[in-house]
Symmetry: C2
Subunit: 442 residues, 2 copies
């Protein structure tokens, strides 16, 4: 016996087995359909890029996570850690060939070289859509309409979109905390959901904010009774700050458009504590939350940026985009279902059994002909590939999670069996089988 | 001005722009639908694996091409170079969780570290389907039926499937070239298509084959008038070799089943020169060729193997599989179209223009409402995201390759314009627009 190699995967990397992969593929396809229904076209960029390209400015958190190595040509290269930096490089490089405003989606693997912690993957899928080269309420509203349509199509239960405007936060800080570094204050505010108002008040004081200012800031950013009430409160709080007033006005316009597109009022919530990507987003910011499981955190996010590709080109390219967290949604769905997960391991709807050993050759030919007939009718069919005992084939159908098994009788007629109920149906010929399967699905 | 980073990709890696990416995505989706219609479920395995796992036995051609590096944990790792080795590792590792016979498809990127030559990519997509844990004519025929269905669904013009049986070749060599290394003879025979019979005859002599044996071998493997005639000729040539006779018999049975499944007789050709993957395939082997462009070579291939995962487990897992060459098909399609390639850069069917600057807010709200109405009817819609001049928006629609642009009139009615003919249609309200679009598509 030759020495075997122990079959195993690297820490932080995962195999996806059929039942889960089927479910993920279904979600990804629905998502793609939504992206396309809104005019977003796919692009593809390399998984491996020059490290210099991916590192950009350098020195920040993502650089440390880069899966970096030296290739055979002694170049410093790395696996991409997101789809945004490659988009920026792509847009700068192909400016002349692209039509702006440019809408693209990308669904692809990304890699993080960090030490894997519990549940942290070093390879996972990102699903991004961006509208590059457009500013204004219509562009921002479009991304929110797209996100709402995405979660509806994914059919994962109620998802709310929490939206804010960075300029409102800037206005609030200008009015209530002049002289303090906005990023420090925002980082504290961001913890309100998890730590509560009191802890935040203490931290704001530590950051150097006077008690009255901290109280006003907390009041202005408190959860509101309704989006209208929240917007009115924010409007009052930023009065006198041009940037803050512009932010409130813009967010109100965006909200009207999203509602005009039929997004239910309850889906879109104004949440003045949402900040996201402090160094990156400059206008509207948004976060999607699964209402049945808020503990899973954001299942999608996005926002407006001023200058996508400034590292690679002098052309200023503002835009707005979002990312849908499919992997996190899958984890949440599995938890919600009590760990049961998806049950079917096969995309097929029916098993055609193989004639048992000793059957004449025309029996198997008839099975192949029926399979083709059913597939032509849009039915997904597995044929059992070997002449095993009928009972073993039925056990296989059961384990695969198939609903129906169809067998040819010695006289050339057929019978179908419902795996769940064991009910059987006699069917005289191929067309009767096709008609019965169609009726069963309807 | 900050120093810019020159935006560029690594040699051998490519960006895929919208028009081509749209087309590729369409082909991949059709292919997935065919895989699923035959009961194949997706799985996903990591892009990065331990080099030890991917190298397997070591020392052969693929090892040299491995994109190998040391990760942050000082492990020797590599990017996968195909989807078959990861499948073998996966099946060995998850044996207890999988149901056999096991059908899986995988569509994913693979990487080759070799020095990039003209047209050779270091990153490309593979599309594989395998049926593991089954032997016999039904299993082999299923893969051929699947391949035929795939090329039909891809709608790329006539594709022939050239099929052979390794055991027929073994029988021929047993009868005509006993004592010679089969691999040496097969490598020479494989060149017949490109170099012609005379060159092959000379090479066979160099390999040590007597002139009469070489002549008999060339005659037996010459292109036949029909699959029946070829099978009859091969049957005569291998008479007396048990393995050869079994091969001919098996191939004839497989062919009957493929024809029973409705694959046109002309699609399936018996070609005794096809050998493929000498160290790997042991039974049926197949190759797909695009008839309009044979020069592009094989656009898909496959075959039967005896022992998929022998490196990782003592369980013997025979199977049969195929790989569809989507990237090569795309190149061929572009050449056939005279380099024109796909023309539409957008998945959308219609542009809704943005009201020009100065329009009342309800105008834009009405556009958002119409977009939602059309999407609900299954129509893919782009809205122009900024209040630019109408002429600029129409130019955008043209460049995107959109067929129709729809604009709201000041009085709340709409008009549609066909971009190709400049014909316009007055439409009184949203429902009229929806009905007109539906009729236009029908």
């Amino acid at each position: 016996m030759a020495a075997r190699i122990d079959p195993r995967t690297l820490k932080g990397f995962q195999d996806v087995l059929p039942a889960k992969a089927l479910r993920r593929a279904t979600l990804l396809r629905r998502l793609e359909d939504v992206f396309r229904a809104h005019g977003y076209a796919p692009i593809d960029t390399p998984s491996v890029e020059l490290a210099e390209i991916l590192k950009g400015k350098g020195g920040d958190e993502t650089d440390k996570q880069l899966f970096e190595f030296t290739d055979a040509g002694e170049r410093q290269v790395a696996l991409r850690f997101d789809l945004t930096v490659p988009l920026a490089r792509f847009v700068a490089q192909h400016q002349a060939e692209l039509v702006f405003p440019f809408r693209r989606y990308a669904i692809g693997h990304v890699w993080r070289g960090e030490r894997p912690q519990k549940g942290r993957l070093r390879e996972f899928i990102q699903c991004d859509a961006d509208l590059v080269g457009a500013v204004g309420p219509a562009a921002d509203a479009e991304i929110l309409v797209l996100m709402a349509a995405a979660y509806r199509a994914l059919d994962v239960g109620a998802v709310t979109l929490r939206v804010n405007e960075r300029r409102i936060l800037n206005g609030l800080l200008e009015r209530l905390a002049p002289g303090l570094a906005p990023s420090a204050v925002l980082r504290v505010l961001d913890k309100r959901d998890k730590q509560g108002a009191d802890a935040v008040r203490t931290e704001l004081a530590t950051a150097g904010l006077a008690p009255e200012a901290a109280a006003a800031l907390l009041e202005a950013t408190a959860p509101g009774a309704s989006p209208e009430a929240t917007l009115a409160r924010l409007s009052a709080a930023v009065r006198g700050s041009a940037v803050g007033e512009a932010g409130v006005q813009h967010l109100a316009e965006v909200r009207s458009l999203v509602l005009a597109a039929g997004v239910p009022a309850g889906v879109l919530q104004v949440d003045p504590t949402i900040a996201r990507g402090l160094d990156y987003y400059t206008g509207v910011v948004m976060e999607a939350r699964l209402e049945a499981m808020p503990s899973v955190g954001s299942v999608g996010s996005g926002g407006r940026y001023d200058d996508l590709a400034g590292l690679y080109t002098n052309t200023r390219l503002p835009g707005v985009g979002c990312s849908v967290g499919i992997d996190r949604l899958l984890v949440a769905l599995e938890e919600l279902e009590g760990g049961a997960g998806a049950t079917s391991r096969s995309p097929a709807q029916v098993l055609l059994t193989h004639p048992e050993a000793g059957s004449p050759p025309e029996a198997l030919a008839a099975v192949f002909a029926l399979a083709e007939r059913l597939r032509t009718a849009g039915i997904r069919v597995e044929t059992y590939p070997e002449p095993r005992k009928h009972a073993a084939q039925m056990k296989y159908a059961d384990r695969q999670g198939l609903a129906v098994a169809i067998t040819r009788n010695a006289d050339g007629t057929w019978h179908a069996k419902e795996l769940a109920t064991h009910a059987t149906e006699a069917l005289p010929h191929v067309e009767a089988v096709a008609a019965w399967m169609r009726a069963r699905r309807a």
